[in-house]
């Protein structure tokens, strides 16, 4: 209990407090001068506006892509359901900065592969698309955020009890009337909540906003905060801008929670039967086609660009004459920076995932199984990092640790702190969900039969929540191995990570090694997901009595 509380204080509370302090500390003591500058100088408020515009468009398009796909998967006889699900998962798993790099390869205004094709080969110059624009940024971001809408909408659509819809039908409502008047209102809160999550995640992504926004002179909050750390760093201003960022994020998340809370009535019919699927007739192929289009844009095109780039001697020459594995050899065996980055990332992601799940498990257990004072507060604080975009977490950690005598800045340890702090909410949620599955009576039975507290945890609780904790571990590992938003401010040459290496190599123009490293990054993610799936299944059948 004390340990978990102390961890939260060091990881979250103190850094956040120092962020507040430095945002109101001016030249001559307490002042709002930093906030005043944010409000007055176009440089800063334009970044805020750009972030909001980006978030709004991304939210809208996430809805327009995620909802139809969810409906197709959950409620219709659209063919290729597995394929559609895979498309959504892959889109979610693909780091957005990789998509951004791939799209620069395809749609860079002068040298983009597809732009060159339409301009030089087809001679249709008006079809040239400049990726370095707000529309380009929205396109790249949506490909990562639409799964938020998709996932929440699917689970809502699947949990609406069939009897709600059948009651409407027996009263004379047709398929479409039922969908509009009964189903839609029931799932609307979940869908809106997913849209807000897409908004929050979209505006927090540093990588895509730097790769696409900066060349297009579209500065957003993360890139502007990043620029404030160019020499001389302006900590006070960065803190003020960060807090503005936090305010937007928290506001959106509060709305999101409110919507999600209204969702509860969907679950009421949990025990009922699954709703019937709508027969779309010939239209099902149109819906399937939409899914294929999403797959091409979100998966096929970027991976095609990255894979071909990583396997040719130099971009622009023909693929087959040019095939080589030299870039993989370079990043894996020759270049010490990328080697170090891979080792660092694997180490950081594994340790961070383990710690986040461990702390999450303790907090979840305290919350659900004890009556300890302050357990609700502990639970709330553990959710705070959800409202802190990665770069804000980095700013907070820098300001806190620079004020202490510990030389943490630039070490692997500060990166670890950032990762654990960022992903504690995932650990807590996973542990919470796993523990909720285990009825208290399963533990009480062990106690009354003479088992001590320790024996009960070891023999009953832990085996029952193990697969849930493992799922939580992967849930943290995957974003941690691709973390860029916080790492970009915290790394040093010795503590460089894969994502930072990708970004730096890209900045210096090493197009082919970047692609190779990106593919390696994706292979690590795929292995982690596969491992979790295989191990989770091996851990035994999910017992039916666990509710």
């Amino acid at each position: 209990m004390a340990g978990a509380a102390a961890a939260l204080v060091v990881l979250v509370v103190l850094p956040l407090a120092s962020l507040f302090v430095s945002s109101v500390r001016g030249e001559g003591g307490f002042s709002f001068e930093h906030f005043q500058r944010v409000a007055e100088r176009r440089l800063y408020y334009q970044a805020l506006i750009n972030s909001l515009v980006l978030g709004a468009w991304t939210g809208l398009f996430s809805l327009l892509i995620g909802l139809p796909l969810a409906w197709a998967v959950a409620r219709t006889n659209t063919p290729g359901q597995g394929f559609l699900k895979l498309t959504a998962s892959l889109s979610y798993l693909t780091p957005p900065f990789l998509t951004a790099i791939a799209y620069v390869d395809l749609f860079g205004p002068n040298s983009g592969l597809l732009n060159k094709f339409v301009r030089d080969t087809l001679d249709l110059p008006f079809l040239v698309f400049n990726i370095f624009s707000m529309s380009g940024l929205v396109l790249v971001t949506v490909l990562h955020t639409f799964p938020f809408v998709y996932l929440l909408a699917v689970s809502a659509l699947e949990s609406v009890d069939a009897s709600y819809e059948e009651s409407a039908q027996i009263l004379g409502a047709g398929t479409w009337r039922t969908a509009l008047q009964i189903t839609a209102p029931l799932v609307a809160p979940a869908v809106l909540s997913g849209t807000l999550l897409a908004f929050v995640n979209a505006i927090a992504l540093f990588g895509s906003q730097a790769i696409i926004g900066i060349p297009g002179r579209i500065y957003t909050l993360p890139t502007r905060i990043y620029a404030l750390f160019d020499y001389p760093p302006q900590h006070g201003l960065a803190a003020a801008l960060s807090l503005v960022f936090v305010a937007i994020t928290v506001l959106a998340l509060v709305l999101q929670r409110a919507y999600l809370a209204r969702r509860s009535y969907v679950i009421l019919g949990g025990k009922g039967s699954r709703p019937q699927r709508i027969d779309l007739g010939r239209w099902r192929w149109a819906v399937f086609g939409f899914g294929v289009l999403v797959f091409i844009v979100a998966i096929a095109a970027p991976y095609f660009a990255l894979i071909t780039t990583s396997l040719v001697k130099s971009v622009g020459l023909s693929f087959f004459d040019n095939f080589t594995l030299v870039h993989y050899r370079f990043v894996l065996f020759e270049y010490d920076v990328t080697q170090r980055a891979i080792v660092n990332s694997l180490l950081l992601a594994s340790v961070a995932a383990t710690l986040a799940v461990l702390i999450g498990g303790i907090i979840g257990w305290i919350d659900l199984r004890t009556t300890a004072w302050g357990r609700k507060l502990l639970d709330y604080i553990s959710l705070v990092p959800l409202g802190l975009p990665g770069i804000v977490m980095a700013v907070a950690l820098i300001q806190f640790w620079l004020a202490t005598p510990f030389p943490l800045y630039g070490t692997l340890l500060i990166l670890l702190l950032a990762y654990v702090a960022r992903y504690i909410p995932l650990g807590v949620r996973a542990a919470n969900a796993a523990l909720r599955q285990v009825d208290g009576s399963l533990e009480e039975s062990a106690r009354i039969l003479g088992a001590s507290w320790g024996m009960t945890v070891r023999r009953i609780t832990f085996p029952l929540i193990r697969s849930g904790l493992l799922a939580g571990w992967v849930l943290v590992f995957v974003p941690a191995i691709q973390e860029l938003s916080a790492s970009i401010l915290l790394f040093s040459s010795s503590s460089i990570t894969v994502a930072v290496a990708v970004y730096n190599l890209y900045e210096t123009g090493y197009v082919e090694p970047v692609a190779a490293l990106a593919i390696i990054n994706m292979i690590i993610i795929a292995l982690a997901v596969w491992f979790a799936d295989a191990f989770g299944r091996a851990a035994g059948p999910r017992p039916s009595t666990m509710q």
Binding site: D439, S441, L442, E444, S445, A446, R447, I448, L449, G450, A451, S452, M455, R459, I460, P463, L464, G540, P541, P543, S544, T545, M546
Partner: protein, 368 residues
């Protein structure tokens, strides 16, 4: 094997709120099957969890064989009470086989493994699950899981077995069978059973003694027959089964009986409930309580006794093993009556109504 003494036991979950259980005094003798009976939320499960040691009392004590296990200051943890408990959802561990489930308590007691195998086998025999050792709970039916839960609790030879609505998740047929098995098991093992249920029929069928609890307060504690036929108050009477209340006036009180006159003129000598309050004095208005099976109907005719109560049949329901009639008597009171199925009346028939005075009780009227 064990005797439980509960003194002044009080538990409130929220400060200042109504107590979940208030000032409970209960003496449970050794080798008894005792049921805690009451509607949901009455405090019976809280009482069971207090006995198990999962909950700390705010006041009062729980002692077993004279040793205090729970008080407001100190609670012996559940694992050191040597009790067994069967939960409503059975709580059979889904990741352990039947054998592992049953062996767990023995392992916790560091029983040598050579001995464990034999004891588990004997217990499986006892509950009729021999041969199921290696099954997982997910491969068992609800009734079989129930037996695993029972075997798991009994294999450690507890002095006391606590059961929290163990039959409520079973279907009606199985419930009836498990009911008799439970009773049989209790007789054979000599373990003190403390059984929680909201089903009065179950309580009547199983128990040596029933403790009726309502609103956190013990209403009556006694053998099933007594609780059913001589309910301590109107609430208990109502909860234990269908009952009629007829407006009545007391003519005279002498000792434990009272001479009363029912609206409509019928005069009876009835038993007063134990510790009858002062309101039940001569001349006061009361309700006569009589169960449907203790009312007799006869065709009205010339041989009618003077002063008999007359009524008219308002509704008939055929129940299979009985006919249930609703008869409207003087003052408009609707009286529920159960008769042998061979005795038949039609709606609208005039009847005379008679009671067995020894099966009647009087209570003060509701809401006064």
């Amino acid at each position: 094997m064990a005797r439980i003494q509960i003194k002044g036991l009080t538990k409130r979950y929220v400060e200042g709120a109504m107590a979940a259980i208030h000032d409970l005094n209960l003496e449970i003798a050794d080798n008894r099957f005792v049921t805690l009976l009451g509607p949901s939320g009455c405090g019976k499960t809280t009482t069971l969890r207090l006995i198990a040691g999962f909950v700390t009392p705010d006041a009062g004590t729980i002692a077993v064989d004279g040793v205090v296990l729970s008080s407001a200051d100190a609670v012996v943890p559940p694992e050191r009470r040597g009790m067994g408990m069967v939960f409503q959802n059975y709580a059979v561990w889904p990741h352990k086989t039947v054998f592992e489930n049953i062996a767990f308590g023995l392992e916790a007691r560091r029983t040598p493994s050579s001995e464990i195998a034999g004891r588990v086998a004997r217990m499986l025999e006892l509950v009729g699950l021999a041969g199921f050792e290696r099954r997982l709970p997910s491969e068992l039916s609800g009734g079989q899981q129930q037996r695993v839960a029972l075997a798991r609790s009994l294999v450690v030879e507890p002095g006391i077995l606590l059961l929290d609505e163990p039959l409520s998740n079973l279907d009606a047929k199985l419930r009836e069978r498990m009911r008799s098995e439970l009773k049989e098991l209790q007789r054979r093992t000599g373990v003190t059973f403390v059984y929680v249920t909201h089903d009065q029929a179950e309580a009547l069928a199983l128990s040596d003694e029933i403790a009726v609890i309502e609103g956190g307060v013990l209403q009556q504690f006694g053998p099933p027959r007594q609780v059913y036929a001589r309910p301590a108050n109107r609430g208990v009477a109502d909860f234990m089964g269908q009952i009629n209340f007829l407006p009545t006036r007391i003519l005279a009180v002498s000792g434990e009986t009272a001479r009363v006159v029912v609206d409509g003129g019928l005069e009876l000598a009835v038993h007063l409930p134990a510790g009858a309050p002062a309101e039940l004095a001569t001349g006061s208005e009361v309700d006569l309580a009589v169960r449907p099976e203790n009312v007799r109907l006869a065709e009205s005719g010339p041989h009618e006794r003077p002063g008999a109560l007359t009524g008219r049949i308002a509704d008939v329901t055929f129940l299979g093993n009985a006919n249930e009639y609703v008869a409207t008597v003087a003052g408009g009171t609707r009286l529920r009556v159960q008769t042998h199925p061979s005795q038949q009346f039609a709606v609208g028939d005039s009847v005379t109504v008679e009671f067995d005075p020894t099966e009647c009780t009087i209570f003060k009227p509701a809401g006064r």
